[in-house]
Symmetry: C2
Subunit: 302 residues, 2 copies
């Protein structure tokens, strides 16, 4: 960063030969976060994390961030301080520079972040080919389980949240797969995205963008620790949390046959096909269309 | 643009050897614009324009834009269509590519735009030296006069707005100085910014950032056509509109003695000094401190 805040704009020196990867996401209080379930520092963290995750999902390494805030009148300074503390913590954790911003009054607290990264090799959503494997970079369901338990607000939910602190953390402080993104791009991934809407819907996006079929095997989808117990308490099928629950921010990738998923710490859980079927083989119920498994009610505003 | 909307992020190919210039600005309904004074297409235009202006003010050429919107529930589709039409018109007019965006529900309409440009030579606010001239790239006061007349909403104001259509346009559809920014950077400008808060306050920013004194000569500050007539109708000193009124988006630059302002279509209106005085020589009242001439009530929310 050559010129940071305080001037009309930030000045950055891009790395020669790399592509720029740019993404923007806005989080709004009452919709993407609420004081009942998380803290202002968490909101700041999350605004940085979700944007960095999008850069990683293209095979890029996030480097710079700008942030446009709207802040209701009468917001206590301590709340803004906490928000910025979370932003700075995330920037430090993910090695991105906050290079500029703008703040305006407004009726709700909102955080519009734009992340800029660099990539040697870009991986879009649309390059999967029949015969490629579908693999994920980590276990699923933690964010949805954490959110559902936080909403329950009863002693049994509190006990489970205490036993599996990663569940609430997955909702409040998601960690994007910053190392895995560029690594999988180098390894030859043919398509990639981050799981923000639930694996069922996001894997469907990969297949649709690539014009392939897809068969997901539920039995091979890795569940995060505590998800099974949360599902039992919540009287849900764990598959709903693992496939329909969003915001896990693991990467879902298409790998050509010659790339070994286990060599890249990936878990194989499906296969792209030459058909037009895009479905999941459910352990208990048999095959079901992927399109039926997007569960909007696992969102903070659901 | 190699990958546009619909993927996790946009992919851009930066020009080798150039610096990146990045800025973000958020506009909120009721604060930066209101349906009583301008149309949704104007709001979209303005969100693009103000960000492009910041890039120009660094000596850069804006190339790419991303946009994060919050939209109240129940917003008519026709309003959003008009907003996007204005965004697209401005992108076409300023030759920038809209490469990505995000939309969320929220309690107010807000537009957080991030512009990314490229610069061969960057000009910050802090390089002015004693002996440099202060010059502006265009006449001042039009946006403030236009806004004040639109607010008046009486026949005399309407008549003046009809006689000088550029006044309302300056408020509704500002045009950033995209050509002048890089040209003045090449010509050797030592400091530069865009006049968004009023020339008095913005020239003061240049002097403060550069650690110089500054003497502005009111008699040489160019007034936009109609500003004098608007001031008379509004019972204001025209200097209030020209020096205190914001959002003109002309460039204010510091030029070293060897650069001729007229050769660059600039109007000289002051001089940076080695003193600590930062003042304006008012034609009618003699010298006054620049700091006293920022008029916050010439803003849409004032």
């Amino acid at each position: 960063v050559e010129v940071g805040g305080g001037d009309d704009a930030a000045v950055l020196a891009p790395t020669p030969g790399r592509r720029l990867v740019v993404t923007t996401d806005v989080l709004v209080e009452g919709r993407h976060f609420t004081a009942a379930l998380s803290q202002p520092a968490d909101w700041g963290w999350k605004a940085v994390a979700v944007n960095c995750s999008d850069v990683a999902a293209m095979g890029g390494l996030p480097r710079w961030l700008v942030l446009a805030l709207t802040v209701p009148e009468g917001t206590p300074v301590s709340r803004l301080d906490a928000l910025y503390a979370g932003i700075r913590e995330a920037c430090r954790a993910f090695a991105v520079d906050l290079v500029g911003g703008d703040t305006s009054g407004g009726p709700a607290l909102s955080l519009a972040a734009t992340a800029i990264g660099e990539a040697e090799r870009v991986v879009t959503r649309s390059g999967a080919r029949p015969g490629d494997r579908l693999a994920v970079s980590g276990p699923l369901g933690a964010a949805a389980a954490g959110l559902a338990l936080l909403r329950r607000d009863d002693p049994a939910a509190a006990e489970l949240l205490a036993a599996f602190p990663a569940l609430a953390a997955a909702h409040r402080r998601p960690c994007p797969e910053l190392g895995a993104g560029p690594r999988l791009a180098r390894a030859g991934a043919t398509a990639m995205l981050d799981v923000s809407d639930g694996l069922a819907g996001d894997a469907l996006h990969l297949a649709e963008a690539s014009g392939t079929g897809l068969e997901v095997d539920e039995a091979r989808v890795p569940l995060a620790p505590g998800v099974r117990q949360a599902a039992e308490l919540l009287d849900l099928d764990p598959v709903a949390l693992a496939l329909g629950g969003g915001e896990d921010f693991v990467l879902a990738v298409a790998l050509p046959p010659e790339v070994d998923p286990t060599a890249h710490a990936l878990v194989e859980c499906g296969r792209f096909t030459a058909t037009s079927d895009r479905r999941v083989r459910l352990t208990s119920h048999g095959p079901a269309p992927l399109a039926g498994l997007a569960f909007d009610h696992f969102r903070p505003d659901g």
